[in-house]
């Protein structure tokens, strides 16, 4: 029987012979690189900390999400995922998933390109840091990424950055509540437009069309929502090997300190194993990328691998949620689908505030009857009366606000607390500046103006105090031309080690206010070319 590392499924979890490329992490960042390189004939081994979640159990996972008492459908939490925070609390385990497919198992699937200004905030405004690449450099990779993820979208957004080719799939038409918003927005001179969604508006890439289960976040039972499981599967079909339940403990370098030699991973039985390879790609997500480099400290690199700049773990950013909502005196038809169909990017490039602000028109305002029923302390006719009272007229807006990089917002290792393998857990120091708060207030002002114009009674506002992260961890291994100031170069290769790449939103020098994953995907495709070119 194969050495399955104590998992009990009989799958071999011993290392392969020296591979061309070892990818650590199987979220979209790692999966796209693995697929590209395996398809180019390279020998690829992917090490993934979490388990494989079989697709045929998605209905049950969906039930877990809806019903109290069944636990997290993606099983996050416990000693494996432990962490500590200081400053504003960061709920890390709500903000990521460990498993084949990574956090896209849970994600919402909104995918937009960054704007041109996002790549040059320092030049334009003296704020943050410029990227070492600009929009034009990334533009062809954005188009490729949209095809890979299967993005449904339309060309109706006058504020979007330049593009020629249409989206691979047609956009989801606006919802009924969008049509209510449209009248109010028109009177205020505010433009609404479609939202690019990594979600099948028609069958695409072997996956079904969206059926409207309404639970996209956290579980899509139809497979219409893109998850990186798709690219893991493609990589495997092209010959890659994926070892799940295999958290990498550290990377080990050669004597000279020029190159990584092996990724040391542990299996549940406690055995440590070494996967050697010619090239390494770290793709563990915005917090674990930094943590793995810090855990890989050595005599040669006492402050952590690839950290001669001291920037590893620093400049941690997320997008801040701003929102407001209330009730109308007519039906708003919410909670039919779990995604949004209209946004407003009109204020994104403004200089007041300079921070990017993106506005969303929600299709899931207010409680969903079934979830409310399960939390109610009654049943029968009394319950129905209560549901009738609470469902039907809610309306709400959301939005994302940019947070500029700040060296004091950072990921370090917490020496006081260990994970299930005896490694120090990540410690997140995070706070919001007055600038960020002001930008959130500005978003709230526009939201209130729209809701008031609509005639809604505003019942709640998520402003600078109540705000929380949008679950986009960015900045902790920033990209740049200067090795003294940044961790990776424009190709996502570390300045310090010649055969090590880091991919994901941790490389973003600034984060804009657009959901990050399309940019992650575009950068990964670009990095894959660079890895392939080096072999």
């Amino acid at each position: 029987m194969a050495d399955d590392g104590g998992v009990g499924d009989g799958r071999d979890r011993t290392p392969s012979a020296r591979a061309d490329v070892c990818v650590v992490g199987s979220g979209p960042a790692g999966a796209l690189v693995a697929d590209r390189l395996a398809s180019a004939g390279k020998e690829v081994v992917v090490l993934e900390a979490g388990p494989r979640f079989e697709f045929d159990r998605r209905r049950e996972q969906q039930e877990r999400h809806i019903r109290p008492g069944m636990g997290d459908p993606w099983e996050m939490g416990g000693p494996r995922d432990d962490y500590t925070t200081a400053g504003k609390h960061y709920p890390l385990n709500a903000a990521r998933v460990k498993g084949v497919g990574g956090s896209t198992l849970h994600w919402q699937g909104m995918v937009m390109r960054l704007h041109e200004r996002d790549f040059e905030m320092e030049t334009r405004y003296g704020l943050g840091a410029d990227w070492p690449i600009d929009y034009e450099d990334l533009r062809p990779h954005y188009a490729e990424a949209e095809r890979e993820l299967g993005v449904a979208g339309a060309m109706d957004n006058p504020y979007a950055p330049p593009r020629e080719e249409p989206f691979p799939l047609s956009a989801f038409p606006p919802s009924y509540s969008d049509s209510l918003f449209a009248e109010a927005c028109e009177r205020l001179g505010i433009d609404m437009h479609s939202v690019p969604n990594a979600r099948n508006s028609e069958p695409y890439d072997g996956r079904a069309a969206c059926q409207g289960y309404g639970t996209c976040r956290p579980v899509c039972p139809s497979g219409a929502k893109y998850t990186a499981e798709s690219h893991v599967e493609k990589a495997v079909n092209a010959g890659a090997r994926v070892i799940d339940h295999a958290p990498v403990q550290r990377l080990e370098h050669d004597e000279s300190g020029d190159a990584v030699e092996a990724a040391v991973y542990a299996t549940p039985d406690g055995t440590e194993r070494r996967q050697s390879a010619r090239r390494f790609v770290v793709a563990c997500g915005g917090v674990e990328n930094a943590r793995l480099l810090l855990l890989s400290e050595s005599e040669r690199y006492p402050d952590g691998l690839a950290n001669s700049s001291g920037a590893v773990g620093r400049f941690f950013m997320d997008h801040l949620f701003a929102g407001a909502g209330g009730r109308l005196d007519e039906p708003t038809r919410q909670n039919h689908v779990g995604f949004i169909t209209s946004e407003c990017h009109q204020f994104y490039d403004d200089a007041d505030p300079i921070e990017g602000v993106k506005l969303e028109f929600l299709n899931y305002a207010g409680p969903s009857p079934v979830i409310e029923a399960l939390h109610a302390e009654t049943w029968g006719d009394e319950l129905l009366d209560r549901l009738l009272d609470s469902y039907g007229t809610h309306i709400a807006m959301g939005g994302l606000v940019e947070q500029l990089p700040d060296a004091e917002n950072r990921i370090t290792l917490d020496p006081e607390r260990e994970d299930d393998h005896g490694n120090p857990v990540p410690h997140i120091e995070w706070s919001l500046s007055e600038r960020t708060r002001a930008a959130i207030r500005r978003a709230n002002e526009v939201q209130h103006a729209i809701l008031e114009e609509l005639g809604a009674s505003i019942e709640w506002t998520v402003g600078p105090e109540a705000t929380g992260p949008a679950y986009h961890q960015m900045g902790t291994t920033r990209m740049g031309n200067d090795p003294a100031e940044s961790v990776v170069d424009a190709d996502c290769r570390t300045h310090d080690l010649s055969n090590l790449w880091v991919v994901g939103s941790s490389v973003f020098p600034t984060g804009g206010a657009m959901n990050p994953t399309l940019t992650i995907a575009a950068l990964s495709l670009r990095a894959a070319d660079s890895v392939a070119g080096s072999l």
Binding site: Q62, G69, R333
Partner: protein, 138 residues
């Protein structure tokens, strides 16, 4: 009595839809069976009759006296929490995550049920009010 009183075919709904839902989850089915047997034992003890043979009012009283309406649903908890999880929440989930229950509240395709992609652009539920002019199916 968990379902609203003017719903027709409640028993049929439970037998076909609610029970069919978990057919391929043996551990879950065992949990349902055990909680049902225990509830039945309580009913016999307190009222001398099988739970199913009692009238709705008495059944309701038994559940409330057990504290089920405020219990934390927990598949591994004490009897009250398991009754909430395996019997009450199971049936409420099956009902309100289906059009049968959803419609009563005004949503023909509640979350957990496929079909929202057909209905999310409509301004009202068909068959009930009829589509509203202009801003309907789009």
């Amino acid at each position: 009595m968990l379902y609203p009183s003017d719903v027709d075919g409640r028993r049929e709904f439970v037998e076909t839809y609610a029970l069919g839902r978990t057919e391929d989850r043996p551990a879950y089915r065992d949990g349902v069976r055990e909680a049902a047997a225990q509830l039945d034992a309580v009913a016999r003890d307190w009222n001398g009759d099988s739970y199913a043979d009692l009238d709705a009012e008495t059944r309701d009283r038994i559940l409330r006296r057990l504290g089920v309406e405020t219990a934390e649903p927990d598949p591994e908890g004490p009897i009250t929490d398991r009754i909430r999880f395996y019997l009450v929440d199971d049936l409420l989930f099956a009902f309100y995550a289906s059009p049968v229950g959803g419609r009563l509240v005004g949503i023909e395709n509640p979350i957990g049920y496929p079909g929202g992609i057909e209905s999310y652009q409509r301004g009202s539920m068909p068959d009930r009010d009829g589509p509203r002019g202009g801003d309907g199916d789009g």
